[in-house]
Amino acid sequence: MLETTETVRSEYEPVQGRIAWIEQFTDQDKLYVISLPDDVELDHDPGQFVELFVPGVGEAPFSISSSPTKDGPLELCIRAVGNVTRALDSMEGGDPLGIRGPYGTGFDPEALAGDDLLFVAGGIGLAPLRSMINYALDRSGEFGDLTTLYGCKEPAEQLFPEELQRWDDSEEMAFYETVDQCPEDQTWEGREGVITELIPEAEFDPETTTALVCGPPVMYRFVIESLQEQGLADDHIYLSLERNMHCGRGLCGHCQINELYVCVDGPVFNYPEVRDKSEAEV
């Protein structure tokens, strides 16, 4: 939990952070690097999120995209889709904003230790997975083989291009990438097709592999089916889900999937936890 050396703050009171710098990936997506006050420590697990407050506009949840293995400012990769996110889009380095968190149950590196990890990221779903991917790369000794599958709609929507290139070049992780399709005005040498098509191609041992999946709602069902076809057991699949959230702390009710609160029990779930809940839409 964000703790300052001061007395305990109300959970709803953010600390003021500052945009250190911004990196633009696409028309809609940017990486926001946010520095926190010196006396504040963000002690997070990969897959956890923060509530980010833009005064005068509102608050919204965002996955922490930086890995806890890396010191320094916090990184959020954010797509401009609504009020808070568009307001962020028009902000600049140095601008103040509020941060509270980290919240939720992320990936548990200890539980995953020793496993081969298969990351399946669709679109902005790469943002939360990146934290765990970099964690695994930084501590590769703790895990088995690493594989990342990444798909986005078209080449122009690719996130973290330089980092993807490094992953692609890396010896420590297998990396596969696809775009749904390449419009005529863009160039793309890689493969075209939906992300599920990468799954049979990737080389992994279903017995020793755990899959970590995040993407748009429509993606889950197909990816899970495909993973099952490859022989992956249900409890070898972890999903990071998105829901509406107004508090991030298990109270406001918006993120509920049956008895589960995505903000405290998730956003990362082991597939069997949500498998039989039709409203989970997985």
Partner: protein, 255 residues
């Protein structure tokens, strides 16, 4: 949006109650002109300029001339806001939409009816131009207006509340009209007003328009349960929704 956006107010066919609500901000009107630059506002000033970013438009479209004028405003403005129910969805003006237009003009102008140029239907501005934001209400709520203006300055797209009036009515602990053997449009009317009319001792008249997805069948059943016949039910719907309801039905059919 610039730091202090240029703002213009325009009125079409309506009672100008929404602009009056802006004047009725009283002292806060002077705060308003600190945060926006009002370049046209007939109710309070004589300056006028065609250089503005936000246009607030009050009233319905009733004549061909209205349509032209509106198109011109749309061209000048970055953001067009429908101010009040007449602009937002036709409002009271559309009561006559289901009346035979010849009869309508004759009733009002008798033998001289043919001197009148007007469209057979009163329509909201969105039937002519694209609308970026809507502040419904007859009249608008002053606080809602302030939130929309301050929001636009911060780059916030105003979101229309999409819960029915009943929600706020419960929060205010009003006694439900149906418990008092009155009819109330609250269950299918867009909230955001604080269920004010119920609080003042009457019932919801539907002035903020319908919610996005009204449970019309369920609601009609409730009205029948309370003794209304089909004609009376339509009359309830017609008070403010003479344009909106048929339009919704057409859209739904198209889907």
């Amino acid at each position: 949006m610039t730091e202090r956006p240029r703002v213009a107010f325009f009125d079409f066919t309506g009672c100008e109650g929404d602009q009056l609500q802006v004047v009725n901000l009283e002292e806060r009107l002077f705060d308003l002109v600190e945060v926006v630059e009002v370049v046209s506002f007939r109710e309070a000033m004589s300056e006028h300029s065609d250089d503005y970013e936000i246009a607030f438009i009050e009233g319905s479209v009733v004549t061909a001339h209205d349509e032209e004028r509106l198109a011109g405003i749309r061209e000048n403005a970055d953001v067009v806001v429908a101010l009040g129910s007449c602009a937002a969805f036709g409002g009271i003006n559309a009561i006559r939409n289901d009346q035979d237009f010849e009869t309508v003009t004759e009733r009002v102008y008798g033998d001289d009816a043919d001197m009148i140029e007007a469209n057979p239907e009163a329509r909201p501005i969105e039937s002519v131009v694209e609308v970026d934001a809507t502040i419904p209400g007859c009249p608008i709520d002053r606080e809602e207006f302030v939130q929309v203006v301050t929001g636009l300055i911060r780059g916030v797209e105003p979101t229309l509340p999409n819960h029915p009036v009943c929600v706020e009515c419960k929060l205010e602990e009003n006694e439900c009209a149906f418990h008092r053997d009155e009819i109330c449009l609250g269950p299918v009317t867009r909230g955001g007003c604080g269920a004010d009319c119920v609080g003042e001792g009457t019932h919801c008249w539907g002035c903020r328009g319908m919610v996005d997805t009204p449970s019309e069948d369920a609601y009609t059943a409730v009205l029948e349960e309370h003794g209304l016949d089909a004609e009376e039910i339509v009359e309830q719907y017609q008070l403010y929704w003479g344009w909106q309801r048929p339009e919704r039905a057409t859209q739904e059919e198209a889907q």
